[in-house]
Amino acid sequence: MPAGPSRTAEKIVAMLVPPACREEVLGDLHERFLSRSQYVRDALHVVPLVILSRIRRTADPQVWLMQAFALYGSFVVTAWLLDGALLEQQWGLLRLAIPAAMAWLGLILEDAYARPARQLLTILSRGPATGAVLALLSQATFLATNPDWALPQAVAVYGCVASLFLASSVRMLFPPAADQLQGVNAPAAWLKLVGGSVDAPRGSLVWGVVLVAATLLGYLMWR
């Protein structure tokens, strides 16, 4: 009988596979182990598809769209307040869309990799924070490689802060599908038919409205 895969290989695969399906995927790969090269080949075939499938399962297109608008709006409004000329430049709107898209990607990945039964604070903070970090990283990359595509520093930073608040508000009002039921593999499509969140955070509507109002008020006062 062949020995199992190395602990390092298993740790790498475990890191890449979303927690919701980690146990069965790692177990199946372990059971199929014949040689190191075969294990790596199997993992390369399995991991991307498992991630995509998990993203599909945690996806809610309507909420995705709302989040995208909220994120893009954060950067556009920030640019309008701080550097109106940016909006009139050629590719100005596209430059603003890049950090917004990165922040959006962060939210999607955070939901796909979320552990079931997250706390309210985790739902509200981790996804938007991951998105903001990815947005800032994209700007840092542009500054290092192609500064013409980087946003002015203030627009990038304050845009990220605004996106944190707005994305958190959207998530408070419309909790991610991954958080609606504590069953690990509960299908998102079924959950939508329940007519609301099975395990929605209490008072989320009130807190969502308060956060949106606070963000708008903060903008107005700052301006």
Binding site: M1, P2, G4, E10, C21, E23, E24, V25, L26, G27, D28, H30, E31, R32, L34, D42, H45, V46, V47, P48, L49, V50, L52, S53, R54, R56, R57, L181, G183, V184, N185, A186, P187, A188, A189, W190, L193, V194
Partner: protein, 150 residues
């Protein structure tokens, strides 16, 4: 050589099915029995054939056998199983961890009523196709084709 699996692992585990949750609707209300894709048919057939021992590795082996000579990746099996579960055609639960899997459990699958109905409809349709094809091309063609694809 691969480790021998205990066929009753899935059967004896503490089942925690999706249907164990207290849903305010029935399986029949969740979705209509959509027409199945060819790969979905293969996966459902594999689960049906494996009965109590249907999990990732065994389902993959069975689908590989049914789809020969085509190659089937394990990743495609996971994606399809997720989709079938979302459609309410199959249900899954985790079995107890075993040593041969590095101390990890299996996600076992079984057909739901909706899945059985969808598979029956697909089988009836396939039978009609088979009847027409053999009527036109002759039964000898069927035997010959069966030999060629193994």
């Amino acid at each position: 050589m691969r480790p021998q699996m205990n066929a009753s692992d899935c059967a004896n585990s503490n089942r925690r099915l999706i249907s164990d949750f207290n849903y305010p609707y029935t399986v029949g209300q969740m979705a209509k029995a959509d027409s199945l894709g060819q790969f979905e048919q293969l996966v459902l057939t594999a689960i049906l054939g494996l009965r109590e021992d249907a999990y990732g590795v065994t389902i993959h082996a069975k689908v590989q056998e049914l789809a020969r000579p085509k190659e089937v990746s394990l990743g495609a099996i996971y994606v399809t199983l997720d989709r079938l579960e979302d459609k309410g055609l199959v249900a899954s639960w985790m079995s107890e961890p075993t040593a041969e899997r590095g101390g990890r459990g299996k996600r076992c699958y079984r057909l739901e009523a909706l899945g059985e109905r969808a598979l029956q409809e697909s089988a009836v349709t396939a039978k009609r196709v088979w009847d027409v094809v053999t009527k036109v091309w002759g039964k000898e063609w069927g035997k010959q084709w069966g030999k060629e694809v193994g």
